[in-house]
């Protein structure tokens, strides 16, 4: 018996067809519909803020809700350590659908959205992105949804206590309070460069994120000295403020825009055309947030230092020659590997350093790795960050290496702390390269060797900036 009898049917629905094909029978479009409405949700003349919000995100979230595969779950760093369905990428979309249906409110869901490092693993692992995304020009946008819900919460007056304090202090000091009680300020933002004789302003400036400028000062010192060795001209910003990215990630968008505006104005005032970035988080801010804020007016070239160094090595302008006897593995920073697809250049640099025993883990496996240091998580939930870092260090430990190399200053504090109990040293790739170029880096790696990772007391006496503990 055959499955299909084509004889004697003139019904176009009775035979297989691919909707949308040019040669399909016209009748297919003319069949009256008993159910489907023209608008899934009828347009409203006077939409509530929630309606305005869900109108914008309805279909983006629906494409996850209706798929429901949950393939994202086991690659999500937060889910891996909490195993709580409410804190999974799919839940972040389902909540939007529930808000759209009037089942949940922003007050109900805001606190759940803390539990995301905005690493982007879920988007990559999503079958919608993986296989059909190109064809439909679609990409699952969980990170954007999380940022949008956090911003909607702040706009609605729903705050997370530590984030509010953190951003208020950042606003006050123009830098993030990464040293806890020890104040950070404009007066000290260039302290890390002491003795390096770097000019102010110029066509190219090096932007140093808050964590590196005040806490892990060995990173910018390494970067600056490598640039000097290669004869690459650069200066420092006239008045550098925080990039604004963390505020944007936590939902404080107006503040983020003010900070961005300041930095852009400052670059313009010193004739700067090009910004060198050593921190992946800044790289996201400057290549994704700033263009959104400023549109066509934004004409600054953004250069990632790790890519620049790989290029300088390729061109023979840098030749690491001092052997470094370490057994290492490399931690792909989420914002480079998962968000920006940058994974090759760091490996090029590491392979150019003599003496290293490099046990690499491929970039796709590393989709499920994270330090837990991003997206404001360590500010609001330091215990979760620590658990995620411990998880990452265990993977390194299984390779029997003595060193984990990262390319992200924000990952190095939590990873360093988790590494201590496993006797794994956490080193920045720029520091390692500098050392192999014979540079005595100086500065502080934070934590045990000098900087004061102390705490700041907030209104409710909860420690902030606990990453140093």
């Amino acid at each position: 018996m055959t499955q299909l009898d084509r004889q004697g049917t003139s019904d176009p629905v009775a035979v297989p067809f691919t909707p949308g094909m040019r040669d399909n029978p016209e009748e297919l479009a003319l069949i009256p519909d008993e159910i489907a409405r023209e608008h899934v949700v009828p347009p409203s003349d006077d939409p509530t803020p929630t309606e305005q919000f869900t109108e914008q995100w309805r279909n983006a979230s629906y494409n996850c809700f209706s798929s429901g595969h949950k393939f994202c779950r086991e690659v999500c760093p937060v889910t891996q350590v909490t195993r709580n369905e409410s804190w999974t990428p799919t839940a972040f979309h389902a909540n939007v659908v529930a808000m759209d249906k009037g089942e949940l409110t922003i007050e109900d869901v805001a606190a759940d959205y803390v539990n995301c490092t905005q690493c982007g693993a879920c988007e990559l692992r999503c079958p919608n992105s993986l296989f059909t995304g190109d064809f439909y020009r679609f990409r699952t946008r969980t990170v954007d949804v999380v940022k949008a819900v956090r911003a909607f919460a702040v706009d609605s007056g729903v705050h997370q206590p530590q984030w509010r304090t953190w951003n208020a202090r950042t606003d006050e000091r123009t830098h993030e309070p990464v040293l806890g009680d020890t104040p950070v300020s404009q007066d000290h933002v260039r302290d890390w460069s002491e003795g390096l004789d770097i000019p102010i302003g110029g066509e190219t400036v090096l932007f140093v994120d808050c964590e590196a400028a005040f806490y892990r000062t060995s990173v910018p010192r390494a970067v600056a000295q490598v640039l000097q060795l290669a004869g690459y001209e650069f200066g420092l910003m006239g008045e550098q403020w925080c990039c604004g990215g963390p505020a944007a990630e936590m939902g404080y968008v107006d503040q983020a825009k003010r900070f961005a505006q300041h930095n852009l104005d400052n670059w313009r005032s010193t004739g700067t055309r090009r910004v060198l970035v050593l921190d992946p988080h800044d790289y996201i801010s400057f290549t994704e947030d700033y263009p959104k804020y400023f549109g066509d007016d934004y004409d600054i070239e953004v250069v990632l230092v790790v890519e620049l160094f790989a290029q300088l090595i390729r061109e023979g302008r840098l030749t690491p020659s001092v052997p470094i006897e370490r057994s290492i593995t490399y931690h792909d920073p989420c914002r480079l590997n998962k968000r920006k697809g940058i994974w090759k250049e760091p490996r090029e640099i590491l392979r150019a350093i003599p003496g290293l025993d490099f046990k690499d883990v491929d970039r796709v496996t590393q989709w499920s790795y994270c330090s837990g240091g991003g997206g404001g998580l360590p500010v609001e939930k330091p215990d979760l960050t620590a658990a995620i870092s411990a998880n990452r260090i265990q993977k390194a430990s299984a390779l029997e290496v003595d060193t984990l190399v990262s390319a992200c200053p924000w990952s190095e504090r939590p990873l360093g702390e988790a590494g201590r109990s496993e006797s794994i040293d956490v080193v920045d790739i720029h520091e390692l390269l500098a050392e192999s170029l014979g540079i005595v880096v100086g500065g502080s790696r934070g934590g045990a060797d000098g900087a004061d990772p102390s705490r700041v007391e907030t209104a409710n006496d909860e420690p902030v900036g606990k990453r140093g503990e």
Partner: protein, 502 residues
């Protein structure tokens, strides 16, 4: 949600004697996110499916404690693991406690000599296999949901594996497990009492009873699994045909060939090929005369796979197959978990792209009945499509279940535009499900090979399918769960309690 505030307080207070506060979740989003599974869902009736709270136990003792309290207080318990099932097993119908065992995901013991691993049932198979790979081993339970479904759910639904023709299905791969009964007592169940015994003749064979019950008879908490050497070679040829009949005859011949490394074969019908043409990364550009596909899979050592593969290629050629080449074959098999179905492929008849959820209606059908069943199923879905664009036909697969080709997991994939669902559309769907199940029974099949059959529509026919056996189910349910605590409302089992619905 069913409990009034005072009873909820009483329940939470009692649960705090066995769990930490952080393991008891009562917020609205916590409950909303445990009310649905990937199957189509009446979004407009979301609030009817809410639990009163969710708990996240971390040990068998904690699970037992929760169930004991629920039994004392007469509160429903709905076990949930990955929550990726397609028959709503983990969806609460009468509120109560969603008991989520996802945190019980540790590897407890790896026995390299006896080739077993003992795990908490909250572990995912892909994650488990990442660990086992270091020892050259693997656990071959391979559902479409392999990257996200968890061992406990596989036990509770008695899962079906894509490569089951070679390695068996969940029931064959799980040797034994700890199981919390509806009264809170803990039982070890397997072949005999041994943890690592694959065949025993001692006593009743209880293991099967405590698999596939959809959480109505308790909760599996720790399982001992059978392990195999990680296959050295994998061969997954895809062949094209210009008509369904040749493809159908070919898949039958491949499955009947008795090749030892044969792990399964899949038949894609003409609707499925038309569906795949919605995405140029799948089979297009394939010529228009490609109307059906067959894929076979062999796992084993390279030398044995090579020889077995030659035989299958010869059989395929005799049936008019055209080999699609190594790239498509390897790529599409590797992508089997991801390419299943995507909401992006949802389209109205006129071709507008709309977000649709994927639903797969499955049945177990003998080889000789595949054409008749698939013809009847497509007619049922065509009836839906004639009435509305809320439903879309995404084609059919037939997968071998066994190594002899006796029966097939037969599935029709239906796209459903949930944003448009209302009571009328939902009724149409429920009726269609009932009709689909009736076709399977009329062709001497079973309503489900894989998912279970406890959703609205299909479940109405379960007593008819099982006959006297359904009466035994009622008797067992009443005996083991005297207070109808475990997942009430599923499989019409409330009937076991003298019609006194909770």
């Amino acid at each position: 949600m069913t409990l009034v505030a005072e009873r909820l307080d009483e329940l939470v207070t009692a649960l705090r004697t066995v769990l930490r506060d952080e393991q008891i979740l009562t917020s609205k989003p916590d409950r909303y996110n445990r009310a649905r599974v990937p199957a189509p869902f009446p979004v407009h009736r979301w609030s009817e499916r809410l639990p009163d709270l969710a708990v996240l136990p971390t040990s068998t003792e904690e699970v037992a404690g929760v169930v004991r309290i629920a039994n004392e207080l007469r509160v429903p318990v709905v076990p949930s693991d990955g929550g990726t099932g397609l028959t709503d097993g983990a969806v609460p119908l009468h509120g109560g406690i969603v008991l989520d065992v996802k945190r019980m995901n540790q590897i407890k013991e790896l026995d390299l000599e006896n080739r077993t691993v003992t795990v908490g049932t909250g572990i995912n198979m892909l994650k488990l296999n990442e660990e086992l790979a270091r020892h050259g081993l693997f656990y071959p339970d391979d559902p479409a949901s392999y990257p996200c479904s968890l061992v406990g759910g596989r036990i509770g639904t008695s899962g079906w594996s894509l490569i089951g023709a070679r390695y068996g299905h969940t029931r064959d791969l799980v040797l034994s497990f700890d199981h919390v009964l509806p009264t809170g007592e803990v039982m070890h169940v397997g072949d005999g009492i041994g943890r690592k015994i694959s065949k025993s003749s001692s006593g009743y064979q209880l293991k099967h009873l405590f698999m596939g019950h959809q959480g109505t008879l308790g909760v599996a908490t720790e399982a001992t699994l059978k392990l195999y050497p990680k296959p050295e070679a994998e061969l997954s040829p895809f062949w094209a045909f210009d008509n369904y009949d040749d493809a159908y005859r070919c898949v039958g011949a491949l499955a009947r060939a008795g090749v030892a490394t044969f792990a399964g074969a899949v038949l894609f019908d003409e609707w499925k090929v038309a569906y795949l043409r919605r995405d140029d990364e799948a089979y297009i550009p394939q010529p228009a005369d490609v109307r059906a596909l067959v894929c076979a899979v062999l796992y084993g050592y390279e030398d044995e796979v090579r020889v077995g593969g030659k035989r299958l290629f010869r059989i395929a050629k005799e049936h008019g197959a055209r080999y699609l080449g190594d790239e498509i074959s390897e790529g599409d098999w590797a992508a089997r978990h991801d390419r299943y179905a995507t909401p992006l492929h949802g389209r109205t008849k006129a071709g507008q792209v709309v977000p649709m959820s994927w639903h797969c209606e499955d049945a177990a059908v003998n080889y000789t009945n595949l054409p008749a069943v698939s013809k009847a199923w497509h007619e049922i879905v065509a009836d839906l499509r004639r009435r509305t664009d809320v439903f879309d036909d995404w084609g059919m697969f037939a997968y071998t279940s066994a190594d002899t080709g006796v029966d097939y997991l037969t599935e029709i994939d239906v796209g459903i535009w949930e944003q448009q669902l209302d009571d009328r559309a939902w009724e149409m769907w429920v009726k269609a499900k009932r009709d689909i199940a009736a076709v399977a029974i009329a062709h001497q099949g079973s309503i489900s090979a894989c998912h279970g059959s406890c959703r609205e529509g299909e479940v109405d026919l379960v007593p008819e399918e099982l006959g006297r056996g359904y009466g035994v189910m009622l008797d067992l349910k009443r005996t083991l769960d005297p207070n109808n605590i475990m997942n009430p409302g599923k499989y019409l089992l409330d009937q076991a309690y003298d019609g006194s619905q909770r």
